[in-house]
Amino acid sequence: MKRIILLISIVLYSVNLHAAMYISVTASNFKKAKLALGHVHPLPGATIDPKLLEDIDTQVHSDMELANLFEFIPQSNFADMDQAKDLYAAKYEEWAAKGAAFVIKLGVKTEGTKLVMEALLFDIPGQKKIFGTRYSYPVAQYYRVVHALTEDVLKELSGEKGLFFSRIAMVCRGTGVRKNSKEVFVVDPDGRNLTQLTSDNTLTLSPSWSPDSKYLLYTQYTTARNGKKGTMLKRHSLATGDRKPMSSRDGMNSGAAWSPKGDRVAMTLSFNGRPEIYFIGSAGGGEPDPFSRNLQIRRVGGEGFQTLFAATLFDVEPSWSPDGSKIVFSSARTGNPMIFTADVNTKIGNQLTFAGKYNATPAWSPKGDKIVFAAQRVAEGNFDLYLIDPDGNNLTRLTSGERAVGRRVNTENPSWAPTGRHMTFSNNDGGNYAVYVMSLDGAVKRKVSPEGRECTEPSWSNFEG
């Protein structure tokens, strides 16, 4: 009997030796793709104005750089391979030897008033053409052809849409008689196509987009039909220019945020005596449905809920989670304004931040994984941007307002690009407040508001396809 047990043991022992070893590797280091982006060449047989060729070349590099997903192989490394006649095919082995993971080849020509660009994207290790597309558009707006190409490259590789096919709304100081008036402007994410949307010669605040990017909501100081002065939330159709008053109750009618499904709008109203967050229908009208009044905020590190300090309560600046189930907002219910999240249906919430003098303007990322907000620290006194996970972990500082000679600048009002890889904000680095676009890692930062004009409160639209 003992011998049998021993035998079984030995058999099992050897089985154990042969059981496969199992390990788990977590992805945490991500890299930029090595891209060989050659010069733009005239298409075979075409002649083109060298100035235009250079402009297109510059625009292509500028767009690809803003995408912030590529590490560019120096053009001198592949000058011998960057030729117009090779446009439609890639020598994969030779490109691989240059270290390229992707190659983009571009040819252009003009046909009457139109610019025609042929673009090909090759996957070098995969040895295949990812796409080859011909774009055409009026020459005067050649950069839109480049935007279309960049958007296609990003869509193919990352599945993300809307870095270029989207717009930024903002308020800028008016040029009318009233020097403190602010008007709504809309601009492309590269600072082009600046368009003034309102000319009301009054103060305009907090523009924000509808999920389909067809409407803007903003708050204006106006005189209502009954002659009473106050704030009014307006819905502005971009297609027709029609405006519809959405809310003009006593006190504040501001900080509107359209739900991702588009059925309602969260906003701050103060007709009840103190600023609270309410829902209103996305067509306006009807009674506002109070959201923040009876929230229960979980006690930190324990059971039960926090006690409400009604005297100091204000709840402002709502922003929806991408699935529409939660709202992040700024509230002074515990003293200094802090960031809170709360479930739209259960009305149970969490406090995310506990430090600083003033935490404001939170914005939930399009992928739902991060919340960005502006915070004023007690010691420093200026506003900087911070990232935090929706569960309150991983608080990360994004910007630093410290400048030479003790000067500090504010960075405020962040809003996410639909790709979630860029954001826009206002910042007074150059003296006046201006609106900037920045990649999340800070590698690329560009001013998009016009020179010499004070602009704030940017809001980035969704992908407009």
Partner: protein
Amino acid sequence: MASNVMDQDFFAIPSRALVFSLVLHISIPFVFITLHSLDKWGLFPFLHHSEPSKQVYQNFIQVDVVALPDALPNEEKKAVDMSLPIMPKPGGTPEIPTPVHSNDGMTVPDEAATAAANLAKRKHLDAQEAADKAHKEKLRKAEEDKILKHLKEEADREAALKSIVAKGKQKGRQQVAGNLLSKGASISGMIGTSKDQYGALVTQAIHEHFNPYMWLQKRKLFAVVRMDLFPTTGRVRAKKILKSSGDSSYDSAVLQAIDESQPLPIPADSSILEDGITIEFRPEKP
């Protein structure tokens, strides 16, 4: 009496009334000028309906797009319509692109005529794509669950075997292995411990070289690879993707990580390697 009064006074306008009338009429324009300037300075003494601003914004995407042929331009052409949706244009936009006939015979469809059709087609395709994606996601999830379940079963079986072996060893091989048994662990002994330690070393070595593209960061991709090592050199004898992530560049990053981490650490007991190493590559947060 009445006629007398009329006779005397009808045409004789008292000078006081004349002056009053003149002053009143001359002041009317001043009233309007005052109102207007008050208005300009933001004071609205009367009802004021601001003129709705009819700023019409040009729609964003209007670039005409045609897919290039797969072959060289002077070979056979096959136009594939990959047009971006062309949005109906609001009135008064500056430039309306006209249809283009490209030199290789491909025609860009007339914008106005095909805008609606393109939009409808695009919507239909989008819906299809979404449904397709949901289905694929479901399949992927099921597949992943299946593999995880299988791996878990394997691990459970392994643990069970180990505990039996450990017990067997304690009984049968106490004298030989007794001082090598670590204290109190259920799966233990030299073999269990060194295998875990060795696994940690291999994990670390591969993790250092595992760098997928930035745009895959939020995609929650998951792949499983089996590799065999030469027990003397730590180089890879063979590697195989058991479960693809579905993204070829992620799969290449997985294989590249294994290649670049060579030579891998060698275990003290080379029998650990006899049945290969299974590696799962998973996203940061499960």
